[in-house]
């Protein structure tokens, strides 16, 4: 292909917005009939509490490494006829703001849906990104999430998470 088949980015919310039209354009190609896009937005509530905003913290260098790794894995599974796009917001977002945007373009739609889903699942579970929710009552809390510890690493407590792994909706 003439241009890179994937693009990964972190967008500082103070300077740029996530742009679904740009994602669709990027993953398109004359031979591709299907584009699947996922947009994650800040919700106005979580676990029954009114949310006014969310701050996203990222370990930028490692996050971009992980995005690139994830893209290579999805390419290995669904490529080579595949274009991918990943963008995650950083900073304080208001309700309705776009937090994450992923897209996959492929010749047919089944691969597009599956590749897009694989992208967002991996970004959510494996990238060094943390979400702090701000509540209507002025309180705030960092969300619980997925441990990045190597699962076979004995020193870490990942065998005994406070709740069953990945059954929480995040």
């Amino acid at each position: 292909m003439k241009q890179p088949a994937s693009q990964v980015a972190i967008s500082d919310i103070g300077r740029a917005r996530l742009d679904p039209a740009a994602a669709i354009e990027f993953v398109s190609a004359p031979g591709f009939g299907g584009v699947s896009v996922f947009v994650g937005r800040v919700r106005d509530h979580n676990h029954g509490r009114a949310v006014t905003g969310v701050s996203y913290d990222l370990f930028d260098a490692l996050a971009l490494q992980r995005f690139a790794e994830i893209v290579r894995e999805v390419e290995a599974e669904f490529g080579p006829a595949l274009r991918l796009y990943v963008d995650h917001a950083r900073g304080r977002l208001a309700v309705g703001d776009l937090a994450v945007l992923v897209a996959a373009g492929t010749p047919h739609r089944d691969e597009a849906f599956r590749a897009c889903r694989a992208l967002i699942e991996a970004v959510k579970h494996r990238a060094p990104i943390w979400k702090q929710e701000h509540y209507a009552d002025g309180d705030s809390a960092w969300s619980e999430g997925c441990s990045l510890c190597h699962p076979d690493d004995p020193a870490a407590d990942v065998d005994r998470p406070p709740r069953p792994a990945h059954t929480h909706a995040h």
């Binding site: 990222l58 490692l62 959510k124 579970h125 990238a127 990045l148 995040h170």
Partner: protein, 86 residues
């Protein structure tokens, strides 16, 4: 050796600069850093939860480190609580 530890997510709330320094033995491994950090946090941070650290990973800018690995040559490590992107 002196290790610079960057704090992310829930760890940020304990230190305004989100960065602490820890003194370790010269051939220290990630497991030693974990112990030293646990000691530092217990001594300096009221309200710190050891449970959070137990589920946290240590990483360089390129990868998550295993407990048995040596501290990276540049002595810069990040401690990563469970992630919640998206």
């Amino acid at each position: 050796m002196r290790v610079e530890l960057a704090l992310f997510g829930a760890f940020r709330q304990f230190d305004p600069g989100a960065r602490i320094e820890l003194e370790l033995v010269n051939d220290a491994r990630v497991a030693d850093l974990r112990l030293a950090f646990a000691g530092y946090a217990a001594a300096h941070w009221p309200g710190f939860s050891p449970g959070l650290l137990a589920r946290s990973a240590f990483a360089s800018e390129r990868e998550v480190l295993r407990e048995s690995e040596p501290i990276p040559a540049d002595r810069r490590v990040a401690v990563l609580p469970p992630v919640s992107g998206g």
